[in-house]
Symmetry: C2
Subunit: 163 residues, 2 copies
């Protein structure tokens, strides 16, 4: 009566594909809609944060997005080349780089306002459905992050390791 390993493998295949496909499908829809703004999906995420905060160091940006400098540095350079942001070393702490919107970057927000509605109409999901789905996904992420944290030795709560 127990689920045999073989069935688990098939189920894993299903959920793997589902998630992978969903992630890429989402990416694809955003790509189409963001093409008008000249942004990629990750660049849009960065802009969303900057529209809320206006100026913040790369480190903070990375914390919001869970991305490290290895991803952000080249991405921000491209946004800078596009004239949407400026990067400048903090005077207070020379290690830190402050990212701030240019006027052009601020102005882009007005055009971005229509993006979510276009996405929503693509999915046919209403605000409530979106919220519900988000809650469900966040549960999953939380569980996964907790699991990943356990597996990584550094900082893992001591005493909880397998006997």
């Amino acid at each position: 009566m127990n689920t045999p390993d073989d069935d688990w493998l098939r189920l894993d295949q299903q959920i793997c594909f589902s998630l992978h496909a969903a992630s890429r499908a989402f990416n694809g829809v955003y790509r189409q809609i963001l093409k008008d703004l000249g942004l990629t999906y990750p660049q849009y995420l960065v802009m969303l944060v900057l529209w809320e905060h206006d100026e913040l160091p790369v480190k903070k940006l990375g914390e919001h997005l869970r991305l490290d400098s290895g991803t952000l540095s080249p991405l921000l350079k491209r946004l800078e080349a596009a004239g949407l942001v400026r990067r400048e070393r903090s005077a207070r702490d020379e290690r830190s780089v402050e990212v701030r919107l240019t006027e052009e970057g601020v102005a882009l927000r007005a055009r971005a306002l229509q993006v979510p509605r276009r996405i929503a109409s693509s999915t046919g999901f209403g605000p409530e459905e979106v919220r519900a789905l988000r809650a469900r996904i966040d549960e999953l992420t939380t569980a996964l992050d907790a699991a990943a944290a356990l597996a990584e030795p550094q900082g893992g709560s001591p005493g909880t390791g397998p006997s």
Copy 2:
């Protein structure tokens, strides 16, 4: 009473982050567990398909995974270099390349059997929860794919375009 654009943008920010984070969290958990097998997450997906089908052309593989040759060609070369698959031009159709498992590739399945259980225990989700979540995600993917198909002119059902 209508949801204003600004709120949509905030909500979009939320759902964007959620999905992006979930996708990467999942990827991270798989990465840790698959490290033992020497596979990346996409490589694992390919192997899952091959364990079911044993031999099939790159094209079919791409249809199963929704990936094109631009992604699969180099990935399959790496799997071949790792000794898990062989690639050979089909005799029947010289355009096609047949991918088949080596003995080593077949043998790896035994070790992979424990992967789903480790993933499941990471998430704390049972089979039913996994199935329910998958169904929900698939709905989303279907909606997104339909939306993407509409937006792309080629092959879009004629007569259904916006007046």
